[in-house]
């Protein structure tokens, strides 16, 4: 049953991705200043949004782990699995942002990279979560989960900075499209529709990976638990 649902969901995701691609490349109108390259917008921004969301998942998982670790072991383990999955998949999406950004920048600005606030903070965010994953590999033993949860909380402190960076500072990176000034927002409905579909598609795709990663981690936790029980009864 579970398998069927996941398979159906996966198929739906693929359909959405194809539809989003069609919308972004063929339906959405060409932008006046940047022309064709602007279409990378439909991948760049949704990825960033999904990455933020998943880092939030990681934060909630981390807090949950710290809250439950003394009282409810199972909930704590579930929280920890979410924290790990959120961080890992978040890093993947953040990487997509960091690849699509320079690709776009090369055409729009003539250079791959510049050290403005938005770009720098995004890079720092990525680095923090990579170090989170490294910590999970390097530190051994039962305290890993606690230490990682602590670092997860620190990492999340950077997310609002990234989000606000092009609101606080004048950046070379474009000003916010949504929730920026009074004249922000996408005016062209076809563009907005293409953007909406792509956000939905990338979200669906991200959630699929997230859930799979969570599932694998839970499975591993159960195996470890089983081994522990065996050791106890041996």
């Amino acid at each position: 049953m579970k398998k069927i649902i996941i398979s159906l969901y996966a198929v739906a995701t693929i359909v959405l991705m194809v539809w989003g691609f069609y919308q972004a490349i063929y339906v959405a109108p060409e932008e006046q200043t940047m022309h064709e390259v602007q279409r990378i917008f439909y991948y760049h921004v949704p990825s960033a949004m999904v990455a933020f969301l998943f880092f939030a998942v990681s934060l909630i998982g981390s807090i949950g782990f710290l809250g439950f670790r003394r009282s409810r072991a199972v909930w704590a383990q579930i929280s920890d699995a979410w924290a790990l999955a959120g961080a890992e998949v978040g890093v993947v999406f953040c990487t997509i942002v960091l690849i699509t950004g320079p690709l776009w920048g090369r055409r729009a600005w003539g250079i791959w990279w510049t050290w403005d606030a938005r770009l720098t903070t995004t890079l720092v965010l990525w680095l923090i979560y990579v170090s989170y994953l490294l910590l999970r590999r390097f530190a051994a033993g039962p305290q890993v989960q606690t230490l990682a949860a602590v670092l997860g909380i620190f990492g999340a402190l950077d997310v609002p900075i990234v989000y606000m960076s092009n609101r606080w500072w004048r950046t070379q990176h474009p000003a916010p499209v949504f929730g920026g000034g009074p004249d922000s927002g996408i005016k062209d409905p076809a563009m907005l529709a293409a953007f909406g579909w792509n956000v939905l598609a990338w979200l669906a795709w991200g959630v699929l990976i997230l859930v799979l990663r969570y599932y694998v981690e839970r499975q591993q936790q159960k195996i470890a638990e089983h081994e522990a029980q065996e050791a106890l009864n041996a």
């Binding site: 039962p142 470890a224 522990a228 106890l232 041996a234």
Partner: protein, 227 residues
């Protein structure tokens, strides 16, 4: 001090372990240990290397949390909530090499605010050290360090005393003195748990002897003189 003793008196158990297991990864260091410790008794923990003695003490001290089962001390408290009333001495001295014995003790005493502590000099005298020594701890011999460590534990006059191989580096005469000191402690209704490999050393004060084997309680019997 008297108040504390009465407090310890009023509960039937000083510490209560219920089905305690401790796993390190997939290695079980303790398996379903159930023990009640009564106040005013001295318990001697025996067992071969790796049997889980130190682990049991650390669980009692609240430094390790059991993987399964519960630990309660002084009624219904978790050990973490009664840290001021538990004294724990481990294999390692738990003292700063760079300070003198007095400085070390004064430092640790001031970490127990609001608790009537012994004077550092007095604690040192109790364990048979000269309080006037000005050498830093790094220059002490192993046995002297161990005594200072014992003095550190005695400072806040704990009601539950956990000693991990306290005699391992002492000569026989000093060990005998230590045992006498501990015997006095037991009479003021404090509980003592000692691990040791030299069973005959602790025999004079052993009310109960608990033997561990591969993390399990192998036997729990009244203390007896040397066979």
């Amino acid at each position: 001090m008297t108040a504390n003793v009465c407090e310890a008196d009023s509960t039937v158990f000083c510490a209560r372990l219920n089905e305690v297991s401790k796993l390190f990864g997939s290695f079980a260091a303790l398996r379903q240990v159930t023990v009640d410790l009564e106040p005013g008794r001295c318990y001697v923990l025996l067992g071969e290397n790796g049997a889980g003695k130190s682990t049991l003490l650390r669980v009692l001290a609240g430094l390790l949390r059991p993987s399964f089962g519960t630990v309660k001390v002084f009624g219904d408290n978790a050990p973490q909530d009664a840290r001021a009333r538990i004294g724990y001495m481990s294999h390692a001295p738990m003292l700063y090499d760079e300070l003198t014995a007095q400085e070390n003790l004064r430092y640790f005493a001031s970490l127990y605010p609001g608790r009537p502590c012994l004077a550092p000099a007095e604690a040192l005298k109790q364990v048979g050290l000269d309080p006037a020594l000005t050498r830093t701890l790094g220059q002490y011999s192993q046995g002297m360090r161990q005594r200072t460590s014992l003095a550190r534990v005695l400072l806040p006059v704990p009601e539950l005393l956990l000693l991990d191989e306290p005699f391992s580096n002492m000569d026989v005469e000093s060990a005998r003195q230590m045992v006498e000191l501990l015997a006095g402690f037991r009479q003021s209704n404090r509980t003592i748990v000692i691990t040791t490999h030299q069973r005959e050393m602790a025999a004079p004060i052993a009310d109960w002897v608990l033997t561990l084997h591969a993390g399990r309680v192998a036997s729990f019997e009244p203390g007896s003189p040397i066979r």
